[in-house]
């Protein structure tokens, strides 16, 4: 299978604002259908999005979106993007449908097409009945949805969603994440999801770029991580009389091609080779008269990645 073409290439990108370096020498090639942008507050997530949108000029390096340079082809890049800002953003004194229509027309849609797409976008995000009300009167959750609608109405190829679940109650948050997954799975638009909530990113994203103090701490493929983690087991093996039997089982597993390492509390960590499944471990233990008392898959991969990234000064790929 061909690797997916990169949608965003960061090529030594650096940005200084007010004399302070906010982004430093970012290098990565982002290619997933939905890419999470993670990092603690002040890590530079929003600044990176704003720089890609052309709001801030790079102080060094550059970036390319769909192969177009952000320094020289800002308008062409923006024409393919939809942006949902983090803060409350709307045009006062307009109904939802008029607001979204204006935004679509500014993106270049003719008035009739813009009106049609505005209605469709508002229905799609679930604001069908509220679309004639003034945006100023919307609740926080509705304002988040109308921001998503204006980002979608002109039919972009790439969506920038900056903290889309901010301030949402659990049902609204679930609905927002469902919409993001729907867009991702539809395959018509790629999504960059900036968030400080690991759960949001984990539920929607295939790749994750973790920023720390303006640098790339980690760029990881979550799908690959999940696949790898399914091959990492932790076992507690005992003999029939209850005595620990990890070393004996390790020898048997090694014969099957597993990589083995002793774990805490006399447990055994195993990496399964291709073609060997967890059920083979039970078969192996039964054949040797041993008992597997505990078997764990590695979980919380994103949290591990994030915590590891926050610990050191990592700069690379997991």
């Amino acid at each position: 299978m061909q690797p997916a073409a990169a949608i965003i290439e960061l090529d030594g990108l650096a940005v200084s604002l007010g004399g302070r370096a906010v982004l430093r020498d970012l290098r990565a090639s982002l290619a997933g259908r939905c890419i999470g942008l993670l990092g603690p507050n002040g890590a530079g997530k929003t600044t990176l999005l704003h720089t890609l949108l052309g709001f801030f000029r790079p102080s060094a390096g550059t970036a390319r979106v769909f192969g177009k340079d952000i320094r020289t082809e800002t308008a062409a890049i923006r024409a393919q993007m939809g942006y949902m800002p983090e803060s409350d953003s709307f045009i006062a004194g307009m109904s939802g449908v008029r607001f979204v229509r204006l935004m679509a027309e500014l993106s270049g849609l003719p008035p009739a097409a813009a009106l049609e797409r505005a209605h469709e976008a508002l229905f799609y995000v679930g604001l069908g009945e509220a679309r004639y009300r003034p945006v100023d009167s919307y609740s926080l959750g509705m304002k988040q949805l109308v921001k998503l609608a204006q980002a979608l109405a002109h039919g972009p190829r790439l969506l920038f969603l900056d903290e889309p679940t901010n301030g949402l109650d659990p049902p609204a948050r679930r609905r927002m994440l469902e919409l993001i997954r729907g867009i991702r799975d539809g395959g018509e638009a790629r999504v960059i999801l900036s968030s400080h909530l690991l759960r949001d990113v984990e539920e929607c994203c295939e790749e994750v770029l973790v920023l720390k103090a303006g640098r790339v701490a980690v760029y990881a493929n979550l799908e690959a991580e999940r696949r790898a983690n399914r091959r990492l087991l932790e076992l507690e093996v005992r003999a029939a009389d209850g005595a620990p039997a990890a070393p004996a089982f390790a020898e048997l597993a090694a014969a099957l091609g597993c990589e083995c390492a002793p774990g805490a509390r006399q447990r055994l960590k195993l990496v399964l080779p291709d073609g060997v499944e967890a059920r083979d471990m039970f078969r192996l233990a039964a054949g040797a008269g041993l008992q597997i008392r505990r078997l764990d898959y590695k979980r919380d991969s994103l949290e591990d990645i994030f915590l590891k990234a926050m610990e050191g000064d990592a700069d690379g790929r997991v």
Partner: protein, 289 residues
């Protein structure tokens, strides 16, 4: 993204041309402005002086109509000539209405976008800061045009038609002065009003600031002129500066002793200052140092 499908689809239909996209802004803004009945009433009021001018020109060329009305205005032609001075005074009067119109409309143009973080939405599209400013400027330009040079030129053409003979040849300068003078007013006034709207987020305060800039500065300039006996202080008065520029365009006596060159330089400097201040403010996000 058909409603019944409830899935997202890209738009692959035709797009509008980039050059005319800024006109989307005045279309929406004018629709919002015209929703106010009070504004529509005021806007109609702005057409009263050109309408009075129309009647005056008509009666001037139909003395028999005056006689029918029993009016003894046989010497109207001598008392009130329709010449450069007439059109210059008409423009000055319409300039006042234009200022009031800018005070009413301009504060609602940029400050709400800044207050509600709307600029990030405009500028995240293939829509530049210059197009945004041009779009907002054209709202005022369209409204002020309809009460300044458009009726002015129509009156000029009517007078020329009724007068006949060599009137056009004698007064051709007035036509250019009407058009150029109106645009001097439109650009300088609109930029000043938009700059205030961009820097003062609260609409009523922005209106008060505009009134202060116009009336108080005008009065201050006059007082200083009387106290110091120099025209330098008149440069503080936007009205005096613009009227001096108009006088140079129409070829009539200037309202003060301010040289036309100084007025042009002051106007240009003020316009550039407003542009600089405006673009400093019109950004998707402000960088806090």
């Amino acid at each position: 993204m058909a409603v019944f499908e409830r899935t997202y689809h890209r738009y692959d239909g035709p797009l509008t041309t980039r050059r005319r996209r800024f006109l989307v802004v005045p279309r929406y803004a004018l629709a919002a402005v015209m929703r106010s009945r009070a504004f529509v009433m005021f806007y109609l009021l702005c057409f009263l002086p050109p309408f009075a001018g129309l009647i005056m020109i008509y009666l001037r060329h139909n003395l028999s109509a005056l006689k029918l009305l029993g009016m003894r205005l046989d010497r109207l032609r001598e008392v009130l000539p329709i010449d450069a001075d007439f059109f210059s005074r008409s423009l000055a009067l319409q300039g006042f209405f234009a200022f009031l119109l800018a005070v009413v409309v301009a504060p609602a143009l940029i400050s709400p976008d800044l207050r509600n973080n709307g600029l990030a939405l405009y500028l995240s599209r293939p829509f530049s800061r210059s197009e945004y400013v041009l779009g907002k400027l054209s709202v005022l330009a369209l409204l002020i045009s309809t009460i300044t040079w458009v009726p002015g030129i129509l009156l000029f053409l009517l007078q020329g038609y009724l007068e006949g003979g060599g009137w056009f040849g004698e007064q051709w300068r007035v036509l250019g002065a009407l058009f150029a003078g109106s645009w001097v007013l439109i650009v300088s006034l609109s930029l000043l009003a938009l700059t205030v709207s961009a820097w003062v987020k609260w609409k009523p305060v922005a209106r008060i600031v505009l009134l202060i800039l116009f009336f108080v500065m005008n009065a201050f300039g006059r007082v200083m002129e009387m106290a110091l006996g120099t025209w330098w202080s008149e440069l503080l008065s936007m009205r005096m500066v613009i009227e001096t520029v108009w006088a140079s365009l129409f070829g009539v006596a200037p309202p003060t002793g301010m040289p036309a060159g100084a007025a042009w330089v002051a106007l240009l400097a003020g316009t550039l200052l407003c542009l600089g201040l405006l673009f400093r403010r019109v950004r998707a996000y402000e960088v806090v140092r």
